[in-house]
């Protein structure tokens, strides 16, 4: 069943038991909206030098957008900024692959749980759901940087 390729066990797990949900102190906050469906997220980042000390978030959305925020939290917190950016780029590439990209071992190593989203990339309407939190994180990070909170 094709649907299972989108709703991987890992995704449903993250959806039902989200990591790091809730808003906590941060250096910068952004609010992103997906006008196509109305999904919304408020996201804060906190940096400790170059290290991501926390990504906290709150929002409403479908299983894909919720799970994606949870995976993001799990993957990025504790990482150095440069590494996190690499992960973000890899995730973006995967999501824009229209189902054409078969994640290999190297990719799995970078993306960990996030490779489960490969199936979502076949559904253009849902790609935005998966990317919502990642775009918010990128934006919040840029904001934190420009406000000179890191490094």
């Amino acid at each position: 069943m094709k649907l299972d390729s989108m709703y991987q066990e890992v995704i449903l797990d993250h959806y039902k038991h989200p990591h790091g949900r809730g808003l906590r102190d941060g250096d910068a906050e952004v609010h992103h909206v997906n006008p196509t469906c109305g999904d919304e997220i408020t996201l804060r980042v906190r940096y400790d030098g170059e290290t991501i000390a926390d990504v906290s978030y709150e929002g409403q959305g479908c299983s894909i957008s919720q799970a994606s925020a949870s995976v993001l939290n799990e993957l990025l917190v504790g990482k150095e900024l440069g590494e996190a950016q690499k992960i973000q780029a890899a995730f973006l590439e995967l999501m824009q692959s229209k189902g054409q990209l078969e994640p290999d071992d190297a990719m799995e190593e970078v993306l960990e749980d996030a490779v489960a989203f490969a199936g979502v990339s076949k559904y253009p309407a849902r790609v935005k759901c998966a990317l919502l939190s990642w775009m918010a994180w990128k934006d919040a990070t840029a904001k934190a940087l420009s406000e000179g909170k890191t490094a």
Binding site: M1, K2, L3, M6, Y7, L12, T36, C37, G38, D39, E40, Q60, G61, C62, S63, I64, Q66, Y123, R126, C129
Partner: protein, 418 residues
């Protein structure tokens, strides 16, 4: 097979709609429950489009040659058909636009640029409702921003009806225009036109009715409505995309200024100044959607042949059945009227905590096409404190079996995320 009184012969009707034969996901026949977003098109409408392009295509109004006269006759003939369909006193009151949104923006802009007594300015008020499609909110917000007029609105009750309890405070002597939807595109609510129109007339305000969700489904009689403007859109009433209608009272159309300028809408042009053609042409700048008007004419013929009363009766039967069956699904909550009274064949609901996106996705896998999200009516979602809804909407080709398929699908959704 479920048999309900009042149903149309959907077996025959469905043969007219090629898309309904479509299969998705390895051979699953499509169950199209998104007619409130756009309807499917019968063969008869597609034939009219092809016939126009293959035999009569020419620009209208200015040609003396044969096919230009034919094209003009077809285009203006479509106007006659639409005028008859809505019982307009005069064909000249029917303006072709590109969609209902343009029709509504046209009204807002005419009033913004009008002279007294119509002019909307910072001393006046505009009234709409919380139940509107964004296309009947944003034009008035823009008008309000640009003129300084105050925008006011009716709220919604818990069961999805307009709250008219404060009608005399909302519609006042300052009100210039009251614009509201006849049928809600998200909840299916049919609104009490008469009460609103009576109050508007009392204070001398104009009334604009958004009939986008009414024209496809019930008898639309602009004279009985007693409105000043009525807007609707072709693609929801088995017509092509790219065509909308604004009906307006003749004397208003004469008095009000044009909106878009260009070819076709003028009388004479010099570099220094121009004069305008009489309505409806005054409001139709540029080459109109000719083929699309012809297609809408064919759509109106198609609907009339079946009969709008019959279509309405069919939808009422389906709606009553759908409401009953949906309420059997555990955790399903209908947003809007939860009975079949005074409502159209559009039903929004939530399903426990499962996000509508996920509902829609799993249903799609079964071939069932429903819409999920805000349905361009975000204030309604805000009002009920929900992120979005799942919406099933029915039309003249919908069957009880499709209602059953939806209910089965929803139970499957529950198991999937259970």
């Amino acid at each position: 097979m479920t048999q309900l009184p009042g149903l149309l012969d959907t077996e025959a009707i469905r043969k007219d709609f090629p898309l309904l034969d479509r299969t998705v996901h390895d051979g699953k026949k499509i169950v199209y429950l998104d007619s409130a977003a756009t309807s499917q098109k019968p063969r008869q409408v597609l034939d009219a489009l092809n016939e126009y392009y293959e035999r009569h295509n020419a620009n209208v109004h200015r040609g003396v040659y044969t096919i230009a006269e034919e094209a003009t006759a077809l285009y203006e003939g479509a106007r006659d058909k639409v005028a008859a369909f809505i019982n307009a006193p005069s064909r000249n009151e029917v303006i072709f636009t590109k969609n209902a949104s343009e029709s509504l923006n046209l009204v807002a802009n005419m009033l913004g640029w009008a002279d007294e007594p119509y002019r909307v300015d910072h001393e006046t008020e505009i009234v709409t409702t919380e139940m509107e499609h964004h296309s009947n909110i944003v034009p008035w917000q823009l008008l309000s921003q640009r003129t300084g007029a105050k925008l006011k609105w009716f709220g919604i009750t818990d069961d999805g009806r307009l709250d008219l309890s404060n009608i005399n405070e909302i519609i006042t002597e300052k009100t210039k225009i009251v614009s509201f939807t006849l049928v809600s595109n998200i909840m299916g609510t049919i609104n009490p036109v008469e009460q609103i129109v009576r109050r508007a007339q009392e204070v001398g305000a104009l009334v604009c009715i958004d009939a986008s969700q009414a024209a496809p489904h019930m008898v639309l009689d602009v004279q009985a409505l007693q409105a000043d403007f009525v807007a609707f859109t072709g693609h929801k009433m088995v017509g092509p995309t790219g065509i909308g209608v604004l009906w307006g009272r003749q004397e208003l159309l004469e008095d009000l200024p044009p909106f878009l300028g260009g070819g076709e809408m003028i009388e004479t042009v010099s570099m220094h100044s121009s004069t305008y053609a009489p309505a409806p042409h005054k409001f139709e700048a540029g080459t109109p959607p000719i083929a699309q008007a012809v297609g809408l004419g064919a759509a109106v013929d198609y609907l009339s042949a079946i009969g709008m009363e019959n279509i309405h009766r069919h939808e009422q039967a389906i709606t009553a059945y759908a409401v009953k069956r949906l309420l059997e699904v555990p955790d399903l909550r209908i947003i809007g009227p939860a009975t079949a009274e005074d409502r159209g064949a559009t039903i929004s609901f939530t399903l426990g905590d499962i996000h509508p996106h996920d509902v829609g996705q799993v249903l799609d896998e079964e071939g069932i096409a429903v819409r999920v999200g805000h349905h361009c009516a975000r204030p309604v979602c805000l009002r009920y404190g929900i992120p979005a809804t799942t919406r099933a909407s029915f039309y003249l080709y919908s069957t009880p079996a499709e209602v059953d398929a939806l209910v089965d699908g929803l139970n499957h959704v529950r198991n999937f995320f259970g």
